[in-house]
Amino acid sequence: MDLFSISDDFWIDLGVTLLKIGFMLAVTVGFFAPILTWVERKQSAIMQDRIGANRADIMGFTALGLFHIMADGLKMFTKEDFIPQGANKFLHTLSPIIALVPAILTFAVVPFGGKYELWGYQVNLVISDLDVGLLFVFAIASLATYGYVVAGWSSNNNWSLLGSMRTASQMVSYEVTMGLTIIGVLMVYGTMQLDEIGAAQENFWRWGVFLQPLGFLMFLTASIAENKRIPFDNPEAESELVAGYFTEYSGLKFGMFFMAEFIEMVTIGAIVTILFFGGWHIPFVETQDIIDTFNFSWLGPSFANLIAMGIHVGVFFAKVCFFIFIQMTIRWTLPRFRYDQIMKLGWKILLPLSLVNVVVTGIVIMALK
């Protein structure tokens, strides 16, 4: 096929898509994943009346301990890549990749802004505008389970195996709740496209948290359980299982598990923001208002759209940061559940509640029609 026969639109599409992918990777892997390691240490320290990491310095300049990120990364690079005796080398190497890739892949369908008209070109701020966006998120996120299970199994270590068993059971239990919770959201907005769900929440009182308050709480709980963070960190319970499924991992493979956890935190923040907290919208400010405000005659409407885009992306990531803060606060506030308590919460409380949520949502929608 001749390259020149392809229309210009294709090249623009390709360029814009590559830009979006680059932006998303830069934000998640390049910014959030490293900075969250620092945030977690520092926030917990300040919360507990300590000072926290601040020793790493360059020429006596510590920058509030931000150089610890570099120090940690460097340490992980230089560590021995240890594979235990009797471990399945192939799977042992593969599992961190299986754990990390879905975490990054989820961002393919996460919209970080609306649709904008820029110089005659329609920009939709989502990498891949899938019709089944929400399903894609859950399908890919559950793939990560394989990474954790395989990691535990291939390590030839009983602690790891126990950790991965717990991961499997916990993920399966909470995925049911998660799936049923989003049904309420789907019923309310009538679409599975994440960018349409986001766009539907332009009005402040149409935000998911007002239409689905119970759904929001259950979704947050289930997604924290999915991410295996405290109070649901049984798979990696330090006091019981050394480090759970990644006991036998060192160096950058351990770093990949770590990164997967932090990126998943961003994913949860993003999904919760889109489903329940109005996506990229500012409360009581509609997109048209922003465009009208910045619509100076000498710059044209495209420039106003560009400014609106910038504001929306900023607002979206501010909301994501807020939910990361909430997750961290939960992590440093609550103690770990016992294993049977996790199962009880998942199957006996959250599952019936999510079913009730679906029924009540249906009745209300019927009544309003």
Binding site: Q43, D49, R50, I51, I326, T329, I330, W332, T333
Partner: protein, 189 residues
């Protein structure tokens, strides 16, 4: 008396609902976070510290230890620039770790006011357990626990301090001397 823990505490309806109690806990941690955020983060940027920080940057910043603190035992050097020690050997006997080694010498008149003086006095800090018995046993107020605890070194042999290294002027030990007089004086030793 047995310590009884009631495991069957009936939780109220409010507590069983989880969410309000979780929110209450999160409120406490968040309050601490913001209090400290504005309390001691500006302090690092050069502003006045509004909130007490309990963490001390140890090597750069130290706190004064209380007088009761038992650091390494030292020998007191009195106002006449002579050790108070009379080489009686009581501390040597009292020492449960046998880390004190004294070689007494007969006094020729210039070393001390009394008949005996220590020709050599060594304390092996690698062996010392910092119990303070030597200080308690000493009848002459010659050996004291100082507040110096930074005695780590790479060579074990260097942990053996001889007389010159051990001597510390009395003026630096004033607080501790007062403290020992108060503490051990009540037993009428």
């Amino acid at each position: 008396m047995a310590y009884y823990v009631n495991r069957n505490v009936k939780m109220t309806w409010w507590e069983q609902a989880y969410i309000p109690e979780i929110l209450r806990g999160m409120l406490i941690t968040t309050r601490h976070f913001f209090k400290n955020m504005f309390g001691f983060i500006p302090f690092f940027l050069g502003k006045k510290k509004e909130r007490e920080i309990f963490t001390v940057y140890y090597p750069e910043e130290t706190i004064d230890y209380p007088v009761a603190y038992r650091g390494r035992p030292v020998l007191a050097l009195n106002e006449h620039n002579r050790p108070n020690c009379v080489a009686c050997g009581l501390c040597e006997i009292a020492c449960p770790a046998y880390c004190i080694d004294i070689i007494p010498g007969a006094n020729s008149g210039k070393q001390n006011e009394v008949e005996r003086y220590p020709e050599a006095f060594t304390i092996d800090y690698a062996v010392c357990i910092f119990c303070g018995f030597c200080e308690e046993a000493c009848p002459e107020e010659a050996i004291f626990m100082s507040n110096d605890c930074e005695i780590s070194m790479l060579d074990r042999k260097k942990m053996k301090y001889d007389m010159e290294q051990l001597l510390v002027p009395v003026s630096e030990l004033k607080d501790r001397i007062e403290f020992t007089r108060k503490m051990y004086g009540k037993w009428n030793y």
